[in-house]
C-alpha cells in the first residue's frame, strides 16, 4: 500500500482527502466522525464575524440534477456560512484539533472587507491551534449580496487586499478559495498570490438554478413560491473545475502556486486527475453529502492501489504530472490521425453510435441488415462522439494510424512529424518553419 501521507503548505495529513468547508464540517460531532472514517483533514465550515450569526432559510436548501437511476450528478445549495455562534465553533475547533493532531484542520473565514474585522477574528482563530485558514471568496449566494464571498472573489484588488491583511495578522498558511463565477480564473489567482497567499483552493460553487417547478413556476429549491440562484457542485462541475485548476497550474504568472483542488471529486480517480493537474491535495463535499463519510475509504484504497501499480511512492510525485500536457489548441498535433474501431465482440447492437454519427456527425458508421455496425474509414474524422455515446466501455476505441499509412478519408499519407496550426498552410497568420 502506497503511503498517502501528504504535506500541503507544511501541513501534514495522512492522506490528501480533506472535507471542504460546507455542511459536513459545520460542527464537532460531524468532524470527529469524519476523522474516525478516515478523512485526512477538514476545512471547517466558514465562520463569520462576532455577533448574532447569520440565519438560513427554513425551507429546502438544496436542488439536484440526476443521471440514470436517480444518481445525483449535480447539487446546488442556498445555505449560508455557519449559523452557529463564533465562540461555539472556536471552542469545538480547539477541542477537535487537540484530539486529532495528525489531521489537517483549516478554518474557513468570511468577514466584511474591513481590516478591523479581519484583525479581530484572526487571533481568535489562531488560538484554536488550527493549521491554517481558508478565505471564503467564493460563496455565490446570499453572502455575496452583502459584499462578501464571491463579491470579493470577483474583484482581484479586494482579494489581494484581504489576503495581505491575513498574512499580516496571522502567521500560519493562508489559502484563498476562488469563485468560478468570473471570466478568467488566472486573474483572482494572481491577485491572491500578490497578496501573499500560500495557496489557492478552487472551485467554489457555480451560480445555478437546478430546475423550475412547472406547476408553481418557481425555481427549485423553492421557498414559499420563490427561488434564488444557488451554488452548483458535484460530479457535474468537475470538468469546469479541472480546467480552471489547469489554467492556474500552467499560467506563467501563477505556476508553482500550491493548489487545493475542489469540484465534484467522488472517486480516487477524480482525485488523481486533480492532483495530476497540479493540486497538492483535494477537497470533497458532495460525495460525502451523497454517500456519507465512509466514501473516503474507496478514495484511499483506490489511490493507493493505483500509485502502487504505477510505482509512485508519494502523492507529491503525482502532483502536476499532467500539467505539461495541457496546452493551447493551436499547438495540438494536426498530423495525428485516428479512426474509430468497433469491437464486434463487445458490441451489443444498440445503434446509438450510428444515430449519433449519422444524424449529427460525419456519416461514418455503416449499419447492416443484421445490425452489424462498422466504421467507414473514408468518412471517419475520429471525433469520438461514438465512443462517448456507446454504453459499453472500451467497445469503441480510437486507433491512431501509423505514420506512412494513407488516411482513406483525405488520401494523404500520415506524417510522422508533429505539425500544428501555427504553421498550417490554411492559417493566414502561419509562420514559415525555419
Amino acid at each position: 500500500m502506497a503511503d498517502l501521507t501528504t504535506e500541503f503548505l507544511g501541513i501534514k495529513s495522512p492522506n490528501p482527502f480533506w472535507l471542504a468547508s460546507a455542511p459536513p464540517t459545520d460542527k464537532e460531532y460531524n468532524v470527529r466522525r469524519a476523522f474516525e472514517a478516515g478523512w485526512g483533514g477538514v476545512v471547517w465550515k466558514t465562520l463569520g464575524a462576532e455577533g448574532p450569526p447569520v440565519v438560513n432559510v427554513n425551507g429546502p436548501r438544496y436542488g439536484a440534477i440526476y443521471g440514470a437511476d436517480r444518481r445525483l450528478l449535480g447539487l446546488n445549495n442556498i445555505e449560508l456560512i455557519t449559523d452557529r455562534p463564533l465562540e461555539v465553533n472556536l471552542e469545538e475547533i480547539t477541542r477537535v484539533k487537540a484530539d486529532y493532531p495528525d489531521r489537517a484542520m483549516i478554518v474557513s473565514i468570511m468577514v466584511p472587507c474591513e481590516e478591523q474585522a479581519w484583525k479581530d477574528i484572526l487571533p481568535r482563530v489562531a488560538a484554536t491551534g488550527a493549521d491554517g485558514i481558508e478565505l471564503n471568496f467564493g460563496c455565490p449566494h446570499g453572502m455575496s449580496e452583502r459584499g462578501m464571498g464571491a463579491a470579493v472573489g470577483q474583484v482581484p484588488e479586494y482579494i489581494e487586499m484581504v489576503t495581505r491583511w491575513c498574512k499580516q495578522y496571522y502567521d500560519k498558511p493562508v489559502i484563498v478559495k476562488l469563485t468560478p463565477n468570473i471570466t478568467d480564473v488566472r486573474k483572482p489567482a494572481a491577485a491572491a498570490m500578490r497578496g501573499g497567499a500560500d495557496a489557492v483552493s478552487l472551485i467554489n460553487t457555480i451560480n445555478s438554478i437546478t430546475s423550475v417547478n412547472l406547476d408553481t413556476m418557481s425555481p427549485e429549491p423553492s421557498i414559499d413560491g420563490k427561488g434564488s440562484h444557488g451554488g452548483y457542485c458535484g460530479p457535474a462541475v468537475k470538468p469546469i473545475a479541472m480546467s480552471m485548476v489547469s489554467e492556474i497550474a500552467r499560467s506563467p504568472d501563477t505556476h508553482g502556486l500550491p493548489i487545493s483542488g475542489i469540484g465534484g471529486i467522488t472517486t480516487w480517480r477524480d482525485a488523481a486527475e486533480f492532483i495530476s493537474l497540479g493540486c497538492g491535495n483535494v477537497q470533497v463535499c458532495t460525495a460525502a453529502m451523497t454517500y456519507g463519510f465512509k466514501v473516503v475509504q474507496e478514495m484511499i484504497s483506490g489511490l493507493s492501489q493505483w500509485m502502487d501499480e504505477k510505482g509512485y511512492t508519494s502523492v507529491e510525485e503525482v502532483v502536476g504530472r499532467a500539467v505539461p500536457n495541457v496546452t493551447d489548441w493551436q499547438y495540438l498535433n494536426l498530423n495525428y490521425v485516428a479512426k474509430a474501431k468497433i469491437s464486434q465482440d463487445d458490441c451489443i447492437k444498440c445503434g446509438r453510435c450510428y444515430a449519433a454519427c449519422e444524424d449529427t456527425s460525419h456519416q461514418a458508421i455503416a449499419m447492416s441488415d443484421d445490425r452489424t455496425f462498422t466504421v467507414i474509414d473514408e468518412e471517419c474524422v475520429a471525433c469520438n462522439l461514438c465512443v462517448d455515446v456507446c454504453p459499453v466501455e472500451n467497445c469503441i476505441t480510437m486507433e491512431p494510424m501509423a505514420p506512412g499509412t494513407i488516411d482513406p478519408r483525405t488520401g494523404k499519407t500520415v506524417e510522422k512529424e508533429y505539425a500544428n496550426w501555427t504553421t498550417h498552410p490554411n492559417n493566414p497568420g502561419a509562420v514559415a518553419a525555419e
Binding site: R269, Y291, K294, E298, S301, G302, D346, E393
Partner: protein
C-alpha cells in the same frame, strides 16, 4: 459428438449415459463469471447504503457496499482485499453462498424492484481478479512462538488457521481426508466449484505461511484431543459432521442405496465424469442442499428420472427457493410429504415405497397411504451427525460452545458444522473460524 455406450434409458446403475460434450456443458460453472461490462453494470446498481442490510445479512460481515464501489471505480483488487479482510474464503463463498437467502435477499433493490444487486457474482469478479493477478495479499505478523492445532481443514478450520497464522502463531491443521478443503473440496456440487477451485483456494490461502497441513489424521482414530492439548497451546475443532443419518427403512441395505454425501464427494473427485455410474431412476430422500446437489447432479450425469422425496411440505425444505427452482429447471421432480418405508428389489434396489405424511400440529405422522416409484438408485440425504466428541459437553447433537467458539474444555475451541449455533453454511463456518481465531489470539496474547 462422441456417442456414449449408454443412454439415460439404460436400466440399472450405469456410467457414460451422456456424451462427453454434454457432460462438460452440464457441469460447467452454474453462474458464469462476469464479463467486465456485466460487472460494471451490476456494480453500478449498488446504492452504497448506509449501515447496509446486506452486510448485516452476511455471516462474515463483508463490507459489501465498499467492495462494490471499489469494483465500479476500477479497482477490483482493492475490492477483493475488502472481502478477504472479513472472509478469507470469499472466493468460495461467492460461489456457494445461498445469497438469495442472505445478502441479496436483504438488498434494498430486492425490496424495491424484486431484483437485487448481484452481490455474489460481483464478489466472485473481485476475488477471481485478485487471485489471478496477485500472490497472497497478506503479510504475516512476526512469529509469536505459540502453537495452535486445528482439527479439520474445512472452511472453519482454514479460516481459523489463516487468521491465527496472520497474527504470527504457528498452526498445524489435521484432516482425516487425503487432502484439505473439507466440504469445499468434497461436499459441494461440481458446477459450483469448477476448475478445481477449492484446492487452488487452499493453496492460495496457505501463502500466508506458518500453516502445516497433516492429512490422514482422524480425531478418535490416530489423533486424540488429550495429546493435542498437551502439545499445543490451543486447539480448534472443526471436524464437521462425519456421520450420516440412516433411513431406518426396510431394504436400506440393498445395493444402490447410498449416502448422498459420498456420491457428491465421488463426483467432485472424479477426473472423468463419463466413468461415474448413476441410476436410470434415482430417488433422493431429503430436503436440504445435499439432497438438491445429489439430485441435480444425478440428472446432469444422465439419469432419466430423478425425484426428491421430502417428508414435509415445501415450506419446510431447508434448500432455498433458488435451489428448488434449479432442481426443477434441470428436470428433477420434487415430491413433498412423503417418507420412505421400504426399498424393494432382488439384491439391488429396484423400487421404493413411500408413505404420505401429514402434520396436524402433533408431529409428523404417516397417513397409511403409500406409493411406489421405480428406484434403481436411492440417495440418503437426511442429515449428518457429529462423530467424535471427546469428553466435551454437547448441546443437542453438537459440541456446545459459548462466545467465540469456546467449548467446555479450557484451551479447546470449536466452530463450523460440528459446533452449536449458526446455520450449517460455508460462510457461517468461516465466520466462526475467524472469530475463534481472534479469541484464541487474545487468549494467547494475554
Amino acid at each position: 459428438m462422441s456417442s456414449p455406450q449408454n443412454s439415460p434409458m439404460t436400466p440399472g446403475i450405469a456410467a457414460g449415459r451422456l456424451p462427453q460434450e454434454t457432460l462438460a456443458d452440464n457441469f460447467a460453472d452454474l453462474h458464469a463469471p462476469f464479463a467486465p461490462h456485466e460487472a460494471a453494470v451490476a456494480a453500478d446498481r449498488c446504492y452504497f447504503c448506509h449501515d447496509a442490510p446486506c452486510v448485516t445479512a452476511c455471516p462474515t460481515d463483508i463490507d459489501i457496499p465498499l467492495f462494490i464501489r471499489q469494483i465500479s471505480t476500477g479497482t477490483p483488487e482493492a475490492a477483493a482485499k475488502t472481502i478477504f479482510d472479513s472472509n478469507i474464503l470469499g472466493g468460495m463463498c461467492a460461489r456457494v453462498c445461498p445469497t438469495e437467502d442472505l445478502c441479496e435477499q436483504a438488498c434494498v433493490r430486492e425490496i424495491a424492484e424484486g431484483k437485487p444487486v448481484e452481490i455474489g457474482r460481483l464478489q466472485r469478479h473481485a476475488t477471481d481478479t485478485l487471485m489471478a493477478r496477485q500472490s497472497h495479499p497478506y503479510q504475516r505478523a512476526p512469529e509469536t512462538g505459540k502453537k495452535v492445532a486445528v482439527v479439520g481443514a474445512g472452511p472453519a478450520g482454514l479460516a481459523c488457521a489463516h487468521r491465527l497464522a496472520m497474527h504470527g502463531h504457528d498452526v498445524t491443521i489435521y484432516d482425516a481426508a487425503d487432502k484439505p478443503g473439507g466440504l469445499n473440496e468434497f461436499g459441494i456440487a461440481a458446477y459450483k466449484s469448477t476448475d478445481n477451485f477449492a484446492a487452488a483456494e487452499v493453496n492460495w490461502l496457505l501463502g500466508i505461511g506458518g500453516i502445516t497441513i497433516k492429512t490422514g489424521m482422524r480425531l478418535g482414530d490416530n489423533l486424540s484431543l488429550d495429546d493435542l492439548t498437551g502439545c499445543f497451546q490451543a486447539v480448534f475443532l472443526s471436524v464437521g459432521l462425519g456421520g450420516v443419518n440412516a433411513l431406518h427403512s426396510e431394504g436400506e441395505d440393498k445395493s444402490g442405496v447410498r449416502d448422498a454425501v459420498e456420491f457428491i464427494a465421488e463426483l467432485r473427485q472424479a477426473s472423468d465424469l463419463a466413468t461415474l455410474p448413476v441410476g436410470r431412476d434415482v430417488v433422493v430422500i431429503g430436503g436440504g442442499m445435499t439432497a438438491v446437489d445429489a439430485a441435480v447432479q444425478s440428472k446432469l450425469l444422465g439419469a432419466q428420472n430423478v425425484t426428491i422425496a421430502y417428508r414435509r411440505g415445501r415450506d419446510a425444505m431447508s434448500a432455498s427457493t433458488f435451489e428448488q427452482d434449479l432442481a426443477a429447471s434441470k428436470g428433477v421432480r420434487l415430491m413433498f410429504n412423503l417418507q420412505p418405508t421400504a426399498i424393494y428389489g432382488d439384491g439391488a434396489a429396484g423400487e421404493i415405497e413411500l408413505e404420505y405424511t401429514s402434520d396436524d400440529g402433533g408431529g409428523l405422522k404417516g397417513t397409511g397411504e403409500t406409493i411406489r416409484l421405480p428406484a434403481d438408485q436411492v440417495f440418503k440425504a437426511i442429515g449428518q451427525t457429529l462423530e467424535t466428541t471427546g469428553d466435551l459437553d454437547l448441546e443437542g447433537r453438537k459440541i456446545a460452545v459459548t462466545g467465540a467458539g469456546r467449548t467446555s474444555r479450557k484451551g479447546v475451541w470449536a466452530g463450523g458444522d460440528c459446533a452449536s449455533g449458526g446455520d450449517d453454511l460455508t460462510v457461517t463456518a468461516v465466520a466462526e473460524g475467524r472469530d475463534a481465531a481472534m479469541d484464541i489470539h487474545a487468549t494467547l496474547s494475554a
